[in-house]
């Protein structure tokens, strides 16, 4: 009797987990392992060409490849800007929409909306804004910020991408902070108020430490999201000027598909995976330690 119960439990467990597990195995785990294998070969994806094992050559080539270096530092720069911008914008939007206002719900929807638009579409829309709208704004207002060569110079172009990403992702991160903010007991804030803490001090010393768990999650999300940025990059700059704004994922794509060098592309992808893994792990580890128990 007992035995059959156990069996039934097992069966139930696998009938729920099994399908998902198989799907996960087939579309994530297996391709990942195959991909790792290909990164040690000269696979060109042209049917009929032989696939030779070439050891670590692709990985060594990555350190000789000037374009990989350019893309790597562009990605780091982009990620740093994004993590800061997106989190600041997300946090303050969340503060704004958790105030007692009549339009709070409407504003939440509005701020979240850009996240529902695909990155490619966003990229093209913002390309139009940077090239056409900013120029006419500059002509009519004379404000220097609109006159910058937003997409034709590498530094500005990376900022431009970060701005678009912030616009797209800020609303999403806002939702996470809202959840964090709503979890703070009103009594704590009121107590601080009674003790004479002004608005800034309440944010700095009460709210901020208490939303630390949300901060950990948001930072992780923005970081891995920016490291893997592809669609906005493709639509907004496509690497222009001179492949200086070509982030790692786009470079991987170009190496694999355009140069028809899939082995090399896979090696770059594996390196990117390791970087994201290490950075995320370190970041989550340190942020966890700052979280406060209530």
């Amino acid at each position: 009797m007992k035995k059959s119960n156990k069996l039934r439990n097992q069966l139930e467990y696998w009938s729920f987990v099994g399908p998902i597990f198989i799907a996960f195995l087939m579309v994530v785990i297996i391709p990942f392992i195959i991909g790792l294998y290909y990164s040690f070969t000269n696979w060109s994806a042209i049917p009929g060409r032989s696939i030779d094992f070439i050891g670590l050559e692709n990985y060594i080539a990555a350190f000789r490849d000037e374009q990989f270096r350019i893309s790597f530092f562009a990605t780091i720069q982009f990620t740093l800007i994004c993590v800061v911008l997106v989190n600041i914008v997300g946090f303050f939007l969340a503060l704004l929409v958790t105030q007692k206002m009549r339009s709070a719900n409407l504003l939440r929807t509005v701020f979240f909306m850009p996240n529902l638009i695909g990155g490619i579409v966003l990229g093209y829309i913002w390309r139009f804004i940077f090239i056409k709208v900013f120029v006419s704004l500059y002509e009519s207002t004379g404000l220097g910020i609109f006159g910058l060569p937003w997409l034709s110079e590498a530094n500005q172009a990376i900022w431009a991408m970060a701005i678009v990403t912030t616009w797209q992702f800020g609303g999403y991160i806002m939702v996470i902070y809202i959840a964090g903010l709503q979890g703070i007991p009103q009594s704590l804030i009121e107590a601080a108020q009674v003790d004479g803490a002004n608005a800034w001090k309440r944010v700095r010393h009460i709210i901020f430490p208490l939303v630390a768990p949300a901060f950990t999650v948001s930072m992780f999300l923005t970081m891995s999201n920016s490291f893997k940025m592809f669609d906005v990059n493709l639509a907004l700059t496509n690497g222009d000027p001179g492949r200086l704004t070509e982030l790692l994922t786009l470079q991987i794509y170009n190496t694999a598909f355009t140069d028809s060098n899939f082995g090399q592309g896979q090696a770059y992808a594996a390196i990117l995976f390791i970087i994201i893994g290490v950075v995320s792990f370190v970041q989550v580890y340190y942020n966890k330690r700052r979280e406060v128990e209530m």
Partner: protein, 430 residues
């Protein structure tokens, strides 16, 4: 009772599935998948396919298109690797011909080979065997707007005499002087970035190659490293052309989009653009009565180079997949034959797709002005070839594009550009 009804319905449904499976097996029709990249002519091609299927009831043709913004080559690679292989697909030239060589059916015995115009099969021939059918011919050059030049008081003789870089510069300068009066935003529409990056990276970049004594020999020499960009006369002279283009084109030549390039020209905001005859539909959408024609793209005053010619070539070849069943291959060959030898196919080519035909048995009666201009150059034998189809994979899209942008932005000197191209070429052919 209820259970009975549900059960019988389910059985019926299952049976019908079997029946559907059977019926398509029984008819023994041959299915030919076509995978092509011209999004502009999908409807016209589909109607040709429909008429073909009506005449050949035992053949089914599925037309599949990827082009415009999509990456045809990437999708083709995916389809070939995944086993969902098309029977007829397109290759642009020698590099891709060699990539897909194991898949190409020998088409040397086909009827249409005999009526193909001189020299157009060279790029698809290996060891005397012909592996593809030219889709059409296209040409590009510097297109000028006759009305604007007339308004600027420039004589037709001066235009016709453009056969060297200095005569082109003189013409540009003449227009540039009157820019304000003519209401121009720029004299020339040209770009190295945005959605128009290919204008420079493919087409302008082709010119110094095409002006070599023997372009294919030069590429061969680059491949085995017996020639270099850095000490090649044509490549060094090419700088003057690029400088000229930058001087007379838009200020933000690095980000100008294709849409801006052609729409400014069609609406009279630029007097020249460097483009090909494929732009005619977009130009005519804005102004139907544009009076336009091609000028050559000279890179120097050296009379022994073809500075008075325009680049004309076959953009794509239809090829037949050898790895499929014999009856599919036969049906595919039949379709290619239909396109050239049958009147319906010729009508498609000339009237519907508005191609400049690559075949002597097809004549154009009412060509658009750009096609007309190309035909004139072809008849005068003032053409140079398209050679980028023989470059290593990715060189144009990744490296030439970067080279142009770095030079225009002032990040690199011309010498640095040439040695950069040398490094990248060697990297890709080692």
């Amino acid at each position: 009772m209820k259970k009975g009804i549900t059960a019988s319905i389910s059985i019926l449904l299952v049976l019908s599935l079997f029946l559907v499976g059977c019926s398509s097996d029984e008819s023994e029709k041959v299915t030919v998948d076509i995978f092509q990249l011209k999004v502009e002519i999908v409807d016209q091609l589909q109607s040709l396919v429909d008429d073909f299927m009506e005449e050949n009831p035992d053949i089914i043709i599925n037309l599949d298109t990827a082009g415009g913004g999509e990456d045809y080559t990437s999708i083709l690679k995916t389809r070939m690797s995944s086993g969902n292989q098309p029977a007829i697909f397109q290759v642009p030239g020698p590099t891709e011909r060699d990539v897909w060589f194991d898949f190409l059916t020998d088409l040397s015995e086909e009827q249409w080979v005999r009526v193909t115009s001189e020299g157009l099969l060279d790029n698809i021939t290996v060891d005397g065997k012909i592996y593809g059918q030219p889709v059409n011919i296209e040409g590009y050059g510097i297109i000028y707007n006759k009305a604007i030049l007339e308004q600027a008081g420039i004589s037709q003789t001066m235009i016709n005499n453009v056969n060297s870089l200095s005569s082109l510069q003189a013409l540009f300068e003449e227009v540039e002087q009157q820019k304000e009066a003519l209401g121009l935003e720029a004299t020339l529409g040209w770009s190295v970035g945005g959605t128009a990056w290919w204008v420079s990276s493919y087409h302008t970049f082709n010119v110094p190659f095409a002006m070599q004594q023997d372009p294919m020999d030069f590429i061969e020499a680059l491949n085995d490293d017996t020639a270099n960009f850095a000490d090649n006369e044509q490549m060094l002279a090419f700088k003057d052309l690029v400088d000229t283009f930058v001087t007379y084109s838009y200020e933000d030549v690095a980000v100008t989009d294709y849409e801006k390039q052609y729409s400014d020209f069609a609406s009279g905001k630029t007097a020249f653009i460097q483009q090909g005859n494929w732009t005619i539909n977009q130009l005519n959408e804005i102004d139907e009565n544009l009076d336009i024609a091609f000028l050559p793209i000279p890179i120097s005053d050296n009379t022994s180079w073809a500075n008075d010619s325009i680049p004309v070539g076959v953009p794509n070849y239809w090829v037949v997949n050898k790895k499929l069943d014999d009856e599919v291959i036969e049906a595919a060959k039949k379709f290619l034959d239909y396109m050239v030898m049958n009147e319906r196919g010729q009508q498609f080519m000339v009237e519907e797709a508005k191609y400049i035909p690559a075949f002597t048995n097809v004549s154009v009666e009412k060509a658009d002005p750009l096609a007309q201009s190309i035909i004139t150059y072809v008849n005068d034998e003032k053409t140079i070839p398209w050679v980028w189809h023989a470059f290593p994979l990715g060189l144009v899209e990744n490296d030439a594009k970067k080279a142009f942008q770095d030079y225009v932005n002032g990040d690199k000197t011309w010498d640095e550009i040439l040695s950069f191209l040398d490094t990248q070429w060697d990297e890709k052919t080692k």
